[in-house]
Amino acid sequence: MKQRRTYLVEDPDTFTPEQLEVIDGSLSLKGLEAVEEHRVTFNVDELPEEIRKFLEQWQELHIKWASLKPYTAIPPFSSRVTPGLHIFYEPRKTQPKVQLCDLLRSVFDPENECSFDLDAEEIATPVFHATEDPEPDAYLQYYSYLTTINQLVSLIEKKLLSEVFRSRNLHRPNPDPEDIAFGGFLTVLGPDAAPKPTRATDLEAPDWVVPQWGSTALFQLAYPIEHLEGLKERDWTVTIPLHLRYFPATSSSHTRVPVPWPVVFWACDAEQDGSGNPFDRKNLGYDSAFGEGKRFMHVPPKKSGNGTGKLVSWIDVPVLDTRAADWVEMGTIGVVIIAFLGLCWVLFGGGRGGRGQGIEEKKLKKKQ
């Protein structure tokens, strides 16, 4: 097990190594105003057997979660994902059938509507990736609108902290202040890579027959030119029409669907040799669309969010209201049967029709 703590200060010049103190193999910080990132790395064999067995099914598994609350990202940890739970994965080739639902329900959300009938590849959508680049680490993705990770937290407390931490000496911080570094941006110049579109699913199919969780989209925005030239500063709006699938009929007129706010960024060619910002997180779903050597500059979302302080928009999808549909079945079948019988009567009964004779008469009259 390894731990890394990173302290993020607003102004790096205010920090001096004197603020660090190492006493008896443990580290303390004095008078530092900073945000702490605590990173814990386990070897697979250090994990409880249950978790280890689960993880062995995957070639790659990356899980990201972002809160619904707007937050200010402190550089260099500026990368963002849309609020909710993102899972990027690739099942092990030798694994016959891998379930994602197990993971979702047991670790994140017992009420997740995933289906146990479908394996992890069926419910996934492909991750964007630049055509000329090799496949991204994990080529599949799943998203779920998840507002808290309380279940994961309590799971970590119960399983990992009780089992792993009990068997190890917890206080082994790195005593060498030299190892605590503030990194710059390492970047590399690379060719512009066009994003490869995801497979368009059959848009006519209703929600309940589509095994995939949903879909992601990556748009290149047409930016007003006066902004680029620094001539004007004004708000501008981008409208992206969405296609709604049919949702199941239910006992209300609308079904509410959460649409997490998108991440908005510039993908810039990196300026120096290297591979982008070393603090940028990877496997976010969109980074692989741009190939190597890109630096992402994010536009922070509005602090007030959607008005209730959340980074989500709710869409009311009109559905068939079953409360008003009592007559639909009998009505439809009844009308069709009556229509069929009526036509049979016209075909087989109903005489040869005075109407036809009427035409004959009329013709005669015309001729006369």
Binding site: P206, W208, S251, E329, I333, V346
Partner: protein
């Protein structure tokens, strides 16, 4: 009179038909370029994508939602070249429209003994119909179907039986539903028809075996054989070239599809309701009988069995109209493109119809037919653009209303055709004779 001079000249009518389509085509390019509401049909992108896959040596079924024969993608292969070639398919479909109109004109002249002016007027129901021109220039392939079916009708009336069989097999390969015409054409092809005179009716004492023998006359056998052979050979070629996806997407998909998205079909709301997971648990109503699974029964019985049996010997083109009308009205999915399927038969039926001879009946039928769509479209607009849940009662009732209007019109058509004597055959025979002597 200017109008009669116009309809007196086939050049004028066909030029107008071409100009109409050219204007729509160019207008479509502008709308696509400048409006967020695209003129081009979404299906056209499916066809052209499939053609691009073919050009890259791949299967057209690599394109999701390509549910047609690979022939269609091959036909519009030039759309994969750059620039204006992208519109090649639309031009092809529009040319198909014009050819269809020309064949209609020929049929009306030859087999309905119409004067040139009259024939051009009735062919204009198709040729100068803005709905027809719009649908093909938006890139919908119905125009090609029009050619196939109209040439099929011509071939049958001209007693070119082998060619008819080939066209029938081809049309079914192309779009499945023309299989309903097999029944009416087969039934129509009796000995009297071919020999041009009325044989003595089978005497009551004729045995079943004799009746069967006289039913299985050579022309019926040739038609059946040629159509089956064409259909099977085409399928074999496509299967060998593109394998299982061809069968899956061109045929099986259409058999198992359930169209939930709102359309004109009377079944639409019911299909949405009964295919919704969990909808029945929520409703207080009793569990569904799932009778909609039997929806094909009235549809196929009417369009492929009963109407052909009763009507086809009286008037084949009008019978085909009635069949198609029944097929579309009772179908589980119905969009305005399907109206083209029966519109291509109107020029043959309308001249002697109650709809044209009785002004109140004709005008009410037209108004009701349009109103049914207006009601439905208004509800559809509220759903799609304003997000109101208009499924019930709005969309459902307007769909049912439109269905009743359609059934009423179909009833009038059936009565009209039924009131014709089966002596239509002499008419055809004489028309052919006069043609030969002239």
């Amino acid at each position: 009179m200017a109008l009669s001079a116009f309809f007196g000249s086939s050049q004028a009518v066909f030029s107008a038909a071409v100009v109409l389509r050219a204007v729509f085509l160019v207008y479509g390019l502008f709308q696509d370029a400048y409006s967020p509401m695209k003129y081009t049909d979404i299906d056209y992108f499916v066809f052209t994508d499939a053609a691009r896959f073919i050009a890259q040596g791949q299967s057209p079924y690599a394109r999701d939602t390509y549910r047609y024969t690979p022939l269609l993608a091959w036909l519009i292969y030039p759309t994969t070249w750059l620039g204006f070639w992208f519109s090649f398919g639309k031009v092809l479909f529009a040319v198909g429209d014009i050819v269809t109109g020309w064949m209609m004109f020929r049929i009306l002249r030859t087999y309905h003994n119409m004067s040139q002016e009259r024939a051009l007027k009735y062919a204009s129901i198709w040729l100068l119909n803005p709905m027809v021109a719009t649908i093909s220039t938006r890139g919908s392939s119905e125009g090609l179907l029009g050619v196939l079916v109209t040439v099929l009708l011509w071939a049958v009336l001209a007693k070119r039986v082998a060619l008819s069989g080939f066209l029938l097999g081809f049309a079914v390969h192309f779009k499945i539903y023309p299989f309903i015409y097999a029944a009416s054409i087969i039934w129509w092809l009796d000995d009297d028809r071919i020999k041009g005179h009325r044989n003595s009716r089978p005497s009551p004492s004729a045995t079943f075996g004799n009746q069967l023998l006289s039913f299985l006359n050579p022309q019926r056998l040739i038609l059946a054989l040629c159509s089956l052979l064409t259909f099977m050979v085409l399928n074999m070629i496509m299967y060998l070239a593109y394998g299982w996806p061809f069968l899956e997407h061109s045929y099986f998909y259409h058999l198992i599809r359930i169209d939930h998205r709102h359309n004109f079909s009377p079944y639409n709301t019911l299909l949405y309701l009964n295919s919704s997971p969990g909808a029945n648990q929520n409703a207080s109503a009793q569990p569904s009988l799932e009778l909609e699974r039997l929806a094909f029964l009235p549809q196929i019985l009417l369009s492929a069995v009963l109407i052909p049996l009763v009507l086809s010997k009286r008037d084949l083109p009008s019978t085909m109209l009635a069949q198609t009308f029944a097929f579309v009205a009772f179908n589980k999915v119905c969009t305005s493109q399907y109206f083209l399927w029966y519109m291509m038969f109107l020029p043959y039926y309308l001249p002697d119809s109650t709809l044209l001879h009785s002004r109140p009946v004709g005008i009410s039928a037209l108004i009701l037919w349009v109103l049914g769509q207006v009601f439905w479209l208004q509800q559809g607009f509220q759903l799609e653009f304003n997000g109101y849940s208009t499924f019930v009662p709005g969309l459902w009732l307007s769909g049912i209303f439109f269905f009743i209007v359609n059934v009423g019109i179909l009833g009038i058509i059936i009565r009209d055709v039924k009131s014709k004597e089966p002596h239509g055959r002499e008419l055809y025979a004489t028309s052919k004779a006069t043609k030969k002597t002239s």
